[in-house]
Amino acid sequence: MDVFATALPALGDAWGLILQPIVLGYLVLGVVMGLAVGVFPGLGGIAGLSLLLPFMFGMDPILGLALMIGMVAVVPTSDTFASVLMGIPGSSASQATVLDGFPMAKKGEAARALSAAFASSLFGGLVGATFLTMFILVARPIVLAFGLPEMLMITILGLSMVAILAGRIPLKGVAAAGLGLMIGTIGEADAGGSLRMATYDIPYLTDGLKLVIVGLGIFAVPEIVSLLRQDRSIAQGASLGAGWLDGVRDWAANIWLSVRCSIIGVVVGVIPGLGGSVVDWIAYGHSVQTTKDKSNFGKGEVRGVIGPESSNNAKEGGGLVPTLLFGIPGSGSMAIFIGAVALLGSGDIEVGPSMLKDNLDITYSIVWLLALANVVGTILCIAASGGIAKLTTIRFTYLAPFLFMLISFAAFQSGQNFEDLLALFAIGLIGIFLRRFDWSRPAFLIGFVLSNPVEKFTNQAFQIASFRFRKSFGEGMEYVFSPIVIVLIVITVASVILGIRQAKMIMAEGEVQSGSKRAPLVFLLVIMAYLVVALVNANMIPDYNMTDKIIPLVVGCVALFCCVVLLIQMMRRPEGDAIFADKEIAGEDANAPHGLWSTLAWFAGLIAATWVVGFILALIGFLVAFFRIRAGSSWAMTLILTACGIGFMCIMAGALNRDFPPGLLQGMVDLPWPLK
């Protein structure tokens, strides 16, 4: 009861601090700014917080916290718009939402998907805050119980979700995940600094590929290109079916799923070092496993939206534990948050172990400001969702150029290199072919996201375990097989077994017809060629840097083995077998009025023009040409739309103090912003 004796007054103080009109005013201001910034996929929280930083110095702590938390809290909410409406995963928190959210939008149920997502987000946020209020007092020893072997096991649990998302041919899913893992190892190794599939002559590659680019390339580019080829609206027949009330009803009908996924979100969010990368996949996997009729997943099952969305806002709450108690940020925006807290007031609030002792009231204020910001943000989003859902009824040819503009800008922001655009295009091509030949794109993405954690935790846990084993066998066993590890192993094994049994029913790419052997075979051979090159490359790393080569070697061999088995199967099976799935044989893509390459050429043209004259000039040319030629608009319409696009881009980038990719022209002539 001692705990409650200190906690309850602090909780009371916290509410006293929060419930002042000026604090709430700042919170709402932060929420509105966060929603405005959140339209940029993959940028939101960090860009917004950086914008606020100059004002934090010496600011009244509670006001500064309200402003910052208001902004951070709504990013996982507002990026749901992009992932549901356009199939663009804004952050790692909304990747799983794309799987069922976007198909719902295609069915004309965008408003329903959005409001179900927002209701789940709101609920998840509140469950998270309630749970944290109690848990934060006892969290420290529990967090410390999660050592490297435990983190490795959670990462592997996340990876085991590949089993459920592997698609009709499990081997293809495993190979796709392996390819994702291998692409994730590109660059300088964390441990020994060896280069993998990179050279110092191309500095861009040494840093590896960014998640934003891979997420956009794998999910957004193929969908945009496909819809553009079909020249229709996102919602089939341009009509909207179920409205926002249905979404809220869906959520209410699945409230227990929402509760369970919220708890998953908080608990995984609490563990430092994992961040949000696995949470939504684990929640999605859980949603699939607990649904009786699995046939709709990947085609627009509302439970596939409710699960991940319940978990990702709860995760933000959970992520406060390592941030506040240990001073270890769970995400990029949390890292800026820590830096900003030090600037507040007289600098007394020091994020770290003393937060509970000296600043429990501030700690509680942060937890509940986060929950409150969720409420405000969600209500605004639900109110807007019916109107914004109408976007899905617009002829896609009018949306696509703006989407190319947005994803190019988002990709560039991740690294501020022209190469970011090239990487987006290259990964986009991989995404297009994975989609065409029915290789699981979620499996690829899970592999990529977890590549770094798998490698890091494996190496570190192995090193420390061997250190313990040298001391004594008992101590080593105790370290490696802790009770938490054993429980996680059981869950993982169960989820893999269940997953393999269920995978055949879940078709993330919908029904895909099969056709002739040639195209799928060529794609398989290209993947095998990459794997072989990557394996040879990894093998060239000297043996004393074993930490840098072991994971690429093992993963590469497994993936290559799967590919070889697939190759043998392809040679023996007849044409038309499920293994030869190809979207260009029949269905929407095959019947599209526009070809793949001519459509892709528009995007390539934008990138090439950017290389020459810089982004904004290239964009003007691209928008004018696109609306005039591809969309066949009148000159007036073309110019109005182009002006809107350029104006929007400049206002947002200007407000966020961001640059555009420069081209050769900018290297020769000095131009004023935004042309520079």
Binding site: L49, S50, L53, P54, F55, F57, G58, M59, L144, G147, L148, G192, G193, Y200, P203, Y204, T206, D207, P272, F326, G327, I328, P329, G332, A335, I336, G339, A340, A342, L343, S346, G347, D348, E350, G352, P353, S354, G415, Q416, N417, K456, N459, Q460, Q463, I464, F467, R470, K471, P542, Y544, N545, T547, C650, I651, G654, A655, N657, P672, W673, P674
Partner: protein, 362 residues
């Protein structure tokens, strides 16, 4: 801060950032301009914290009170941003560039990615930090001011990489004859401390602010024992006790007390050279090399004014640590000490990195 003030600054910031700047005046006057302070790291690191602390103070102190925005250009361990800055020419004096030990070390070690030259740039401000090494309670009990009783213990240390700032602690422990096995690949010193708290690592070091915020409570709770600081430099370049931790002995003292560790010779010279580049002169702010003198003077005067603020000691100790900030000629001298390592010290470190960790930088 009042709301109206906040709004005004927000509006000014937005307008200025949108590039609608007032025409430049003849003498040094930054009215209506936006100073871009480019940091070659991400928004999340210590250098971002450092620049964000100084930016608003600098804005108040510069003539014309320009908006100072911090921009981030991460990549290739900060060498990308530094290579970019090398190409920049003086324009209207609105470009500042910040580096840290992570930019200095690749330069000192002739990393192949380095295409920048510190001597081409003009430093306007330099600041430093300190570092504290500590042990877990069990092994800490064996520490008696010398490392003699620690030589038979196996230590595990969570490290960001042998060519980073971690070079300084790793080389120090090696010189003391201690057997420290680094676990590479952690992302920041906070992760290293967490590994220590979980009992997976049994030795750790933190920079001063990290130690005060996260590790000092462990010492109070009896879970950790401070071993040594790296020390601080006095005016003559001698290593003395760190003013933030006057009660903790320096590595120099521990080394003198430990059998087989010498505070002279190539190992010591190499350690000291990299210590100086990594800690007392950890962070530097530069303007491009062809910047006219009056603009350099304006920045020097502005940073001088910042450090002379009545509340500077108080606000800076909490946010960036209680260490001297060098401006003007002081920052030039600091740059000299931080970037001049003689060839034998450099070769010693390169040989040691290759032998101990198999790291080759060419």
């Amino acid at each position: 801060m009042t709301i109206s003030n906040f709004t005004r600054r927000a509006v000014v910031g937005l307008i200025a950032a949108a590039g609608i700047a007032a025409p430049a005046a003849a003498e040094v006057d930054f009215s209506g301009k936006t100073i871009e302070w480019v940091i070659p790291f991400s928004e999340t690191g210590g250098s971002a914290k450092w620049a964000n602390f100084f930016a608003p103070l600098l804005s108040e102190a510069l003539p014309g009170q320009p908006t100072v925005v911090v921009k981030f250009m991460p990549g290739a361990g900060s060498t990308k941003g530094a290579n970019w800055f090398q190409e920049q020419k003086h324009d209207d004096g609105t470009l500042l560039f910040g580096t840290s030990g992570s930019t200095q070390f690749p330069y000192l070690l002739s990393d192949p990615r380095v295409r920048y030259e510190y001597n081409d740039w003009i430093p306007v401000m330099a600041s430093g930090t300190g570092g504290v090494a500590y042990l877990n309670a069990e092994d800490g009990a064996k520490f008696d001011g010398s490392a003699n009783a620690l030589k038979d213990t196996n230590f595990i240390y969570g490290s960001q990489g042998a060519t980073r700032l971690d070079l300084v602690p790793l080389l120090a422990w090696q010189m003391l004859g201690m057997n420290v096995e680094p676990v590479f690949g952690i992302k920041g010193r906070g992760d290293g401390r967490l590994m220590f708290e979980r009992g997976e690592a049994n030795i750790d070091y933190q920079t001063s602010s990290g130690y005060l915020g996260g590790s000092a409570p462990l010492v109070e709770a009896g879970q950790a024992v401070p071993m040594m600081t790296w020390g601080a430099l006095d005016a003559d370049g001698n290593i003395v006790r760190d003013p933030t931790f006057p009660d903790i002995p320096t590595f120099k003292e521990v080394c003198e007390a430990t059998d087989g560790c010498e505070t002279s010779g190539p190992a010591w010279d190499a350690w000291k050279a990299f210590f100086v580049a990594g800690f007392p002169v950890q962070k530097l702010a530069f303007v491009p090399g062809d910047t006219p003198q009056e603009i350099v003077d304006a920045y020097t005067a502005a940073f001088q004014a910042v450090t002379e603020r009545a509340d500077f000691a108080e606000i800076s100790s909490k946010r960036v640590g209680k260490y001297p900030v060098f401006v003007g000629d002081g920052s030039k001298a600091a740059l000299q000490t931080a970037t001049n390592v003689d060839d034998s010290a450099k070769q010693y470190v390169l040989d040691w990195l290759k032998e101990a960790y198999g790291v080759e930088l060419n």
